[in-house]
Amino acid sequence: MNDPTPASPKTSCGSGCSCASAPNDEGNSTRRSVIKGLGATLGVAAYAKALAPLTELTKETSMDEFLQKHYKELSKEEIATVIARLTRETKEKYGADVTISDPKPQEGVKFGYALNLSICNGCRKCAEACHLENNHDRASHQSYIRVFEMSKGSMDFEKGNVHYDHPVPQPDKYYMPVQCQQCEHPPCVDVCPVEATWKENDGIVVVDYNWCIGCRYCEAACPYHARRFNWQKPQIPAAEVNPDQGYLSNRIRPQGVMEKCTFCLHRTRNGRLPACLEACPTGARVFGDLNDPNSEVRYVLENKRVFVLKEELGLKPQFFYFFDE
């Protein structure tokens, strides 16, 4: 469309079509060919140069990782191979010796979490414990828990403040930690185009960090701001890496994938409590098996004034808030 002289002779493309060059055009055509060849060479070089940073990625991503299947399709042997590779890579990249396990949900167990708003004092020890337990990037102070300082008399987050910086608790405030609510109907799972996230039998929503494509649709879908993206490769000094790692939970995540709170499944599936609960100095956090009628969390649900966040969305969170008095 930008050819100002549509009738001018053209170089032959050798196909025998009517665009073939005129017979007396040989010299001209050779010169043009040389110039075009030069242009093409320069072009290819420019493309190669522009895309060169991609080649450095081959160091980061091995062929085994590239071809790795979805978690649910890996056999026992395959998962062992993958874990061996991840352990080796963690040693290479972070200089840390770690043990990665793959604990499965316990039969008949369904985890639930309850949080006592009457005694939470907003100290944010839970958020800090999460940061350390789950091998979060140090520089960004990442954590799966955000603690809101709320005004008494309002449950509106618009009046809440997450960046408070003063002694706690303040007399006219109450404190509301928010983390993944492990919805019964998780919208993040529905929207994932590649089934990289799903709800396990014990109610925990997990992510296959080696399958996620990083489209962040789940992050847009979550109403609780529970999901986090690895905007860059997490940085943790070797001495600070938590070596007790779970494949679906706190192992160091790769760059460019989603992650989220897993109720510390590497601990809780082995009979321990979540790190955030252990760190809480007030005893505001209650964790247990919703299917066990004698569990503490069941006692709370049956005897306290309990509510869930954004109940109107119908997602049925398995994370409950309650008041004592």
């Binding site: 469309m1 930008n2 050819d3 100002p4 549509p6 053209k10 493309c13 050798g14 196909s15 025998g16 079509c17 009517s18 665009c19 072009g43 420019a46 493309y47 140069k49 522009a50 895309l51 060169a52 940073p53 991609l54 450095e56 991503t61 590239f66 979805h70 809101f148 987050f157 618009e158 809440g160 919208p187 529905d190 185009p193 590649v194 990289a196 399958w211 494509i213 489209c215 962040r216 649709y217 992050e219 847009a220 879908a221 979550c222 109403p223 609780y224 701001h225 999901r227 993206f229 690895n230 905007w231 860059q232 490769k233 760059q255 460019g256 994938v257 954004k310 969305l313 119908g314 997602l315």
Partner: protein
């Protein structure tokens, strides 16, 4: 590419003929005068800047963008949304041509279909650039990976976008091929695809709206008006682009054509731009009259919230552009004065690019689902990649138009093999030869 096996006495299989056509078309599309080379070199340079920025983004992580866990989609998804609309907008040539038998439109409908091809390729590239792990792209391929169909709306979008691309490639490829071979096109080979493309064009933008409006946690998107609003604005931006494209082709080929088509497109825009504005007004009314904390996003967008007003200049620019475009389009002299017409088209195009991009995607994240306010201003990397993809889109559209013009002006035609000699008038039917 000359093939000794090709001889008049021996019938050559159709697929080989088609490949030969494709090769001829490609090799001639990169031939041209100095203006053409300057234009293409400029676009290539911009594209390379974008490609380099993308390569660095893949290597260093999405931290090089200005996106965050609070505003997790930005300029890329904004452009993606707009471009799906641009692709769907091409159908506003197809509907008059095939449903209302508008002969003048029929002759040049391929300009819209080629635009759909370029716009879909661009929109797919914007999604790929938004992925944190483009190396895992194969996880999304049905059969190879895991395709969460039909639950995830994103899988629907993958299907409709690729489907729309294929349909349009088939229609354009077939009609050009037949003309290249000097054969009249066979209706049953492409007319069903044309009608399918009309339905499909509506579907691509509807599904893209469903991506957003189905999320209960984002009140700003969670409105049933989103899909109709997307369609109305697409039927402004598509025709506006085509009106300008027709004039540029006229200027470059030195041939007058398409005056009737432009009038039809202006008539369409006069309606669709008003519907589009009406829907914006309707949304604004509901947001502000109802009030409450769900209005946070709209407040942030139009007036700023608690001293944060990053998007305010964007949206008022968009509104000013769109309203000025409305006023210009309503002037009777818009049909006589190219300057007014083109200004109106440009203002409408840019206005809607903002409204459907930055003005539609970002406010859904500000304030966040827990009412935190984290603002977003695209980083240089994001602008580079965006410019690169637009440059590539213009390159693709330029080459496609060039091939089309060469084939229709009979500069590029099949001169080997068995030839069906058909008079040029016969070829003119239904294959968009009107502009050469």
């Amino acid at each position: 590419m000359s093939d000794p096996a090709v001889s008049p006495s021996k019938p050559v299989p159709e697929w080989r003929q088609y490949l030969r056509f494709a090769w001829n078309a490609f090799s001639q599309s990169v031939e041209g005068g100095w203006k053409f080379y300057v234009w293409m070199t400029l676009l290539t340079a911009i594209f390379l800047v974008g490609a380099n920025a993308w390569a660095l983004q893949v290597r260093d992580g999405m931290a090089v963008t200005a996106m965050s866990d609070h505003v997790s989609w930005g300029l890329y998804i904004a452009n993606f949304t707009f471009l799906v609309g641009l692709a769907a907008g091409g159908v506003m040539m197809v509907i008059p041509a095939y449903l209302y038998h508008d002969e003048k439109m029929h002759d040049i409908v391929i300009i819209g279909e080629l635009l759909a091809i370029a716009a879909i390729i661009m929109s797919i590239m914007f999604v790929v650039c938004d992925l944190g792990r483009p190396d895992r792209f194969w996880h999304m391929m049905p059969g190879l990976g895991k395709f969460n169909f039909p639950v995830s709306m994103l899988t629907w979008d993958v299907i409709v976008l690729n489907g729309y691309l294929l349909i349009n490639v088939h229609i354009c490829g077939y009609l050009l091929y037949k003309r290249f071979r000097s054969q009249p096109p066979v209706a049953k080979m492409y007319v069903p695809a044309v009608f399918l493309s009309i339905v499909w064009a509506i579907s691509i933008h509807t599904v893209t709206a469903f991506l957003y409006c189905g999320l209960g946690g984002r009140p700003f998107w969670n409105t049933a008006l989103l899909a109709p609003r997307f369609l109305a604005s697409a039927f402004v931006s598509g025709p506006a682009f085509i009106i300008v494209a027709i004039q540029i082709i006229r200027w470059q080929t030195g041939r007058m054509f398409g005056e009737g088509a432009i009038r039809t497109l202006v008539a369409i825009i006069r309606i669709t731009i008003l519907i589009s504005l009406l829907m914006v007004a309707s949304e604004v009314f509901v947001e502000f009259y109802t009030g409450g904390s769900h209005t946070g996003a709209a407040k942030y967008l139009y007036f700023g919230l608690h001293g944060h007003n990053e998007l305010v200049p964007w949206i008022w620019t968009a509104l000013a552009f769109t309203i000025t475009a409305v006023i210009l389009f309503m002037q009777p002299k818009v049909n006589r004065r190219p300057l007014i017409l083109n200004t109106a088209c440009l203002l409408a195009f840019v206005g809607l690019w903002i409204e459907k991009g930055m003005g539609m995607i970002i406010p859904a994240f500000v304030p966040s689902t827990l009412h935190e306010i984290v603002e977003y201003r695209p980083s240089l990397t994001e602008w580079k990649i965006t410019a690169g993809i637009w440059a590539l889109g213009f390159m693709i559209y330029t080459l496609l138009l060039k091939v089309t013009i060469n084939i229709h002006s009979r500069k590029l035609k099949d001169t080997s093999g068995v030839r069906t000699v058909a008079p040029d008038d016969a070829l003119a039917m239904g294959d968009g030869s009107g502009f050469v």
